[in-house]
């Protein structure tokens, strides 16, 4: 089967996307950990039986609750230093006083990454560690089916009231007797979300008809997203929270006189906040949250204030279950916090610890076949035995020092056992579906091999690749391999103990995948055989043959390989932007050298010719040949050594010489706009300076200038109608930003009325759609009527400018310069570098790809989930609508690479007159250059899956890479569609 290289590359990438999807599904398995909660649970364990006959313990039921009413105040993004640090002292006086002198146990609870709200709520309420895939589900939270505290409380007949983030309502539908959910998607609103919670408080606190009250305040998180942890808005918000806590605490205290049991107030945060105000990663500021237990049951603190103890966030579920007299949820990996139960008798304390240990060892039994050898389990058994001895002594009425000391010893043993048990359970969370991962890896690897093998042919001037399909499909090897793989599939699926995704899909699809794998293998083998048959063929191609490699080719190859290899180190992933900045800088310098050579050596040729030495001519031709300069063009240049046009040439020359330096300076400026990564992320950058509230005027000026520049740079190739649409659209962008309060109009002094800017944003959307529609119409026209090339290039440019307008709308205003510099660099490169130097399509594609990657990071993205700007998904939407929100967020994140890819298409389609196969080559190279790092990374991640940083560094990067493959596949499809009509025209 003969395929054009564009079609071939797009097909390959689609198959590769399938493989990546399968790998991702295996790498992030949905947590299937314990039996569903509906199953009857075993009776709660009794106290360990004392050895010897005669005495038996009478404590067989779950212990009675320790607290009557419990109020949980969850403040989103409450960082530990907001309570324990200087901010706490300043803005939360009541809480600080409670922590220092009152009846309060204070801890620092450590959250596990991903530090995003929904997994954290799950962790708090189930005590388990949610899988990484929960991040993706964060925006679309399904019902929590695991055993959890809320469900236990509800079945025990407790009445629960909830006010706050509606994630809870989605997680626990029908669990609350009364609730009011607030949506967390309007990040710019930080007062109303909290007022909606607080307004119920007075009436609820007066009433008596509830047992558990949960309040989830979102305002602080929104402030963090908007302006960061050091903004002046944080102080008043903390003060507001402090007042609320004071109100709740006094009300709880006043009620206590009537009842026998004390009440409990819990203050906690779900996650912290990084220095930039976002969260999701694993830096210390993001994972450390305060956890306060306030109740009259605790002793008043005396003595100097200690640094709060570090506990796990999952410990809350177990502690609270004991406090409420409920069974501990099955999947909980948390330990009881001892300080909370310290006031109880020794027998009760040991009983609680035994319950917790029993639950943990049960969980271990369900998850580990060799649980008996686990040190935690062994410790627990020993502790249980000495617990029995203690009970025997106790029941015998021994009340001496011996009993106390033995009790303390048992307590210590239990604590040790619990610690080891929960740490070995936490390790269990990372269970990989190796079979699906292997299948995915094999597909991805085979596609890459096929792409590499077909490179010489696909990049030849015909840009066609003969896929050897029929001989391998009828070969014996293919059928044998199919059979063998199916057999392997059956064996693996019948013998696997844990659930495996690839086994659970229908067998028809599985067989289809197996056939795909074997077909790919056979195709690769026969392509390889063909290459061996006529080994001369690759040598003919200048791009592959060794002799004519320029420095640029070496750099491109070394950069690609070096980047792929660097993905094995966690620091290089965290600081990947540095790699790309470094590479494009070097690329610019290499281009500079190339340009110098071009202009200066051509001049030398001229000089030589003017002396008219005939024998030198061969010499010059030799050098020109070496420089890959087209001989006819050189000849023509040599031919007319006249002074006419010398002036024009001079200015062109100086522009050409200056352009790499201009690009370098642009890149350096962009680099200081957004600091990303991990190590240097806290450094002050220009973006934060701009977004701080006192520099609003500067930001407005910059945004206005940027929008004007965008218009100037984009309009030059648009038709008149889209010029006007573009201008109006950009005006709309500014008025949208003014409406939501990011920038100000000069005549508008104080902006008090902040709206959501729905009308303004939709006004811009109309123009975006209009421009893209005109562009598509032109493209279709050029395809159907096969009009001239000009219509098509205008159409493509219009599609491009529509995307630029969309990006201008959803980019944060301080990022608008990124867009300007993107357009500027593209223009300079097209005009001053690529035109005179005449690179081939492959080189230009790779340069575009590199710049696209660099712009991905210039925008402020990084390889952690925290830097995804979710607010882009809500531009112009009244409430959360899934499809547009995902599309907009994806576009905002990948705007840099996408804009460079579309620009590449524009450029290559204007190059068609010079090289008819340009688009095909471009598409093929784009597919290849994208699939290399993905494949390498997938193999590396498989090897590093037990690395310490797998969840904090490698997994987010894997998600980014997966997303990148899907987007590249879409881009390649668009390329192919453009190539299609091109080739049709040629055939006509």
């Amino acid at each position: 089967m003969r395929l054009r290289s564009g079609v071939f590359a797009a097909g390959c990438l689609l198959v590769q996307a399938l493989g990546v999807g399968l790998f991702l599904r295996g790498f992030f398995p949905l947590p299937v950990r314990s039996l569903p909660r509906r199953e009857p649970r075993g009776v709660p364990p009794a106290e360990p039986p004392p050895p010897g006959p005669g005495v038996t313990s009478n404590w067989t039921k779950i212990p009675s609750p320790l607290f009557k009413k419990v109020v949980i105040v969850l403040i989103d993004a409450l960082r530990d230093d907001f309570v324990f640090g200087s901010k706490g002292k300043q803005f939360m006086p009541y809480t600080t006083q409670l922590v220092e002198k009152g009846t309060c146990c204070s801890f620092i609870a450590e959250a596990k990454p991903p530090t995003v709200t929904m997994p954290r709520i799950k962790a708090l309420m189930t005590g388990s560690i949610p899988g990484f895939i929960d991040v993706i589900m964060n925006l679309n939270s399904p019902t929590l089916l695991e055993d959890n505290l809320i469900w236990q409380a509800k079945t025990a007949g407790k009445r629960i009231i909830f006010y706050g983030d509606d994630t809870w309502v989605k997680l626990f539908p029908k669990h609350f007797v009364e609730y009011d959910g607030t949506t967390s998607f309007f990040v710019s609103d930080y007062t109303e979300v909290d007022d909606n919670v607080t307004r119920h408080l007075d009436s609820v606190l007066k009433r008596e008809d509830w047992d558990i009250l949960i309040l989830h305040y979102l305002g602080l998180d929104h402030i963090g997203h908007l302006t960061g942890p050091n903004s002046p808005l944080v102080g008043p918000k903390l003060y507001e929270m402090d007042n609320i806590l004071k109100k709740i605490h006094t009300s709880l205290l006043s009620k206590e006189g009537e009842s026998s049991l004390p009440n409990l107030l819990i203050v906690c945060g779900d996650h912290g906040m990084s220095e930039t105000g976002s969260h999701g990663g694993s830096s210390e500021e993001e994972v450390h949250t305060p956890l306060l237990f306030i109740s009259s049951a605790f002793e008043k603190r005396s003595g100097p204030l200690k640094q709060p103890e570090l506990v796990q966030q999952t410990d809350l579920a177990a502690t609270l279950a004991i406090g409420l007299g409920l069974p501990i949820s099955r999947n909980s990996v948390g330990n009881i916090i001892l300080s909370v139960i310290e006031g109880k008798t020794m027998r009760e304390q040991l009983r609680f610890l035994h319950l917790n240990g029993f639950q943990l060892s049960r969980l271990l039994q369900e998850n580990m076949p060799t649980y008996e050898k686990d040190p935690g389990f062994e410790h627990f058994k020993i502790a249980e035995k000495s617990h029995g001895n203690w009970i025997k002594l106790y029941l015998e009425g021994n009340n001496s020092e011996v009993l106390l000391n033995l009790g303390k010893k048992v307590l210590k043993q239990y604590l040790e056992a619990l610690k080891i048990l929960s740490s070995s359970l936490s390790k269990q969370v990372a269970q990989y579906d190796i079979y699906s991962m292997t299948v995915g890896t094999v597909i991805v690897l085979e596609v890459l091999l096929l792409l590499l093998l077909s490179m010489p042919k696909a990049l030849s001037s015909r840009a066609e690749f003969e896929v050897p399909l029929s001989p391998p499909l009828f070969s014996l090897l293919f059928y044998l391999m199919c059979l063998m793989l199916c057999a392997v599939h059956v064996i693996v699926c019948t013998s696997a103990e844990n659930l495996c995704y690839f086994c659970s899909i229908s067998w028809l699809m599985a067989v289809g995948v197996m056939m795909l794998i074997s077909a790919l293998t056979c195709v690769i083998l026969s392509a390889f055989g063909k290459m061996l048959e006529n080994p001369k063929l690759p040598a003919k191609n200048p791009a592959v043959s060794n002799s004519s490699w320029s420095e640029l080719d070496v750099l491109i190859l070394a950069g690609t390989v070096g980047h792929a290899v660097s993905l094995g180190a966690s620091s290089f992933i965290e600081e990947e932007h540095q790699t790309w900045y470094f590479l494009i800088n070097t690329l610019c310098l290499a281009l500079c050298q190339e340009i110098c050579r071009h202009y200066f050596l051509v001049k030398e040729c001229d000089l030589h010719l003017s002396t008219a030495v005939k024998q030198n001519f061969d010499d010059i031709e030799e050098t020109t040949q070496c420089r890959n300069v087209d001989i006819p063009s050189c000849d023509s240049k040599l031919g007319k050594v006249t002074s006419s046009g010398q002036l024009l040439k001079g200015s062109e020359k100086w522009m050409g010489l200056a352009s790499p330096w201009i690009i370098l300076i642009c890149c350096r400026l962009l680099r200081s706009l957004n600091q990303t990564g991990v190590q240097w992320a806290h450094r002050p950058d220009f973006g934060h300076w701009l977004t701080s509230s006192e520099h609003k005027a500067v930001l407005s000026l910059l945004a206005a200038i940027s929008l004007v520049m965008i218009f100037i740079l984009v309009q030059r190739r648009c038709s008149l109608v889209s010029k006007i649409a573009m201008a109006l659209g950009l005006l709309g962008v500014y008025s949208y930003r003014a409406a939501i309060g990011n920038v100000v109009f000069p005549w508008q002094q104080d902006s008090k009325d902040i709206s959501k800017g729905i009308i303004e944003a939709r006004f811009v959307y109309v123009f975006v759609l209009g421009i893209i529609f005109t562009g598509t119409k032109d493209l279709l026209k050029s395809q159907v009527i096969s009009a001239d090339c000009k219509t098509k290039s205008i159409g493509l440019w219009e599609v491009y400018s529509g995307l630029v307008l969309l990006a201008a709308l959803i980019f944060r205003p301080h990022n608008l310069p990124v867009l300007v510099f993107c357009l500027l660099i593209q223009m300079i490169m097209t005009r001053c570098i690529w035109k005179p130097l005449k690179f081939d399509a492959a080189q230009i594609t790779i340069m575009h790809y590199w710049f696209g990657q660099a712009f991905f990071y210039f925008q402020g993205n990084s390889n952690s989930i925290a830097s995804v700007d979710i607010s882009a998904g809500f531009v112009g939407l009244n409430n959360y609508v899934e499809i547009p929100a995902i599309f907009l967020t994806g576009f905002a994140t990948y705007a840099g690479p996408l804009l460079w890819a579309i620009h590449l298409l524009c450029y290559l389609s204007s190059e068609v007159s010079r090289n008819s196969a340009a688009i095909g080559h471009g598409c093929f190279c784009y597919a290849l250059i994208c699939s290399v790092p993905v494949t390498v990374y997938i193999i590396l991640v498989t090897g590093l899956r037990y690395h310490l940083f797998i969840w904090s560094v490698f997994s987010p990067k894997l998600l980014y890479e997966g997303m990148h493959v899907f987007i590249t596949a879409a881009v390649c499809m668009f390329f192919t569609a453009m190539d299609q009509n091109q080739s049709q025209k040629i055939h006509d």
Partner: protein
Amino acid sequence: MKDTEIKRLLSAHIVCVFSIILTTVVPPLFLENFSVLGTHLIWLCICSICVTTVNIILYIILKPNPSSKRISFAHKVTKFLKCCVFFFISCILFHGIIVLYGAPLIESVLETFLFAVLLSTFTTLHCLCMLGPNIQAWIRVFSKNGAMSIWDNSLQITTMCSIVGAWLGAFPIPLDWDRPWQIWPISCSLGATFGYVAGLIIAPLWIYWNRKQLTYKSR
């Protein structure tokens, strides 16, 4: 004739390599608390000065590109001044390029500048000694197939090696190993130095290896 010239080249390069080794060994005898990593800036100064003097002395002794006509004293002075200006310009240029590569603009200016000086010593100074302040000659040497003597070839190789060494030296900076040599600009300057030394050693060997293929056009 060629073999003797290669021998001269080799001996000159060995002297250069030894001078660099001495800069790490000798100063601790005179200066307290001196170490290449600890007091890196002092080492940068010492190394630059040392390499400069050795290069100039070697140039005076060996005279790789002997010119036929006598040059007046005034001409020599202007040439020397020109060389100084060229050297200074190249320092500024290197500094600019390093900043464009992402070095901090305002903080640690001294470190960056001394690194630029070191790079200039390894590359520009060498060229100035060999070719003089003559841009045409520079363009000739650094374009493909432009070498006219083994000295030009060795110039190409050492310059290339020092710059590539400095380039490679930037790679360990993002790693989170917290080693003393990861501090700016130590890894880069060490990379440049190793590259330069490697270039000095490779150049004579490479020329010796390829002496049959190397044919030089007369001027």
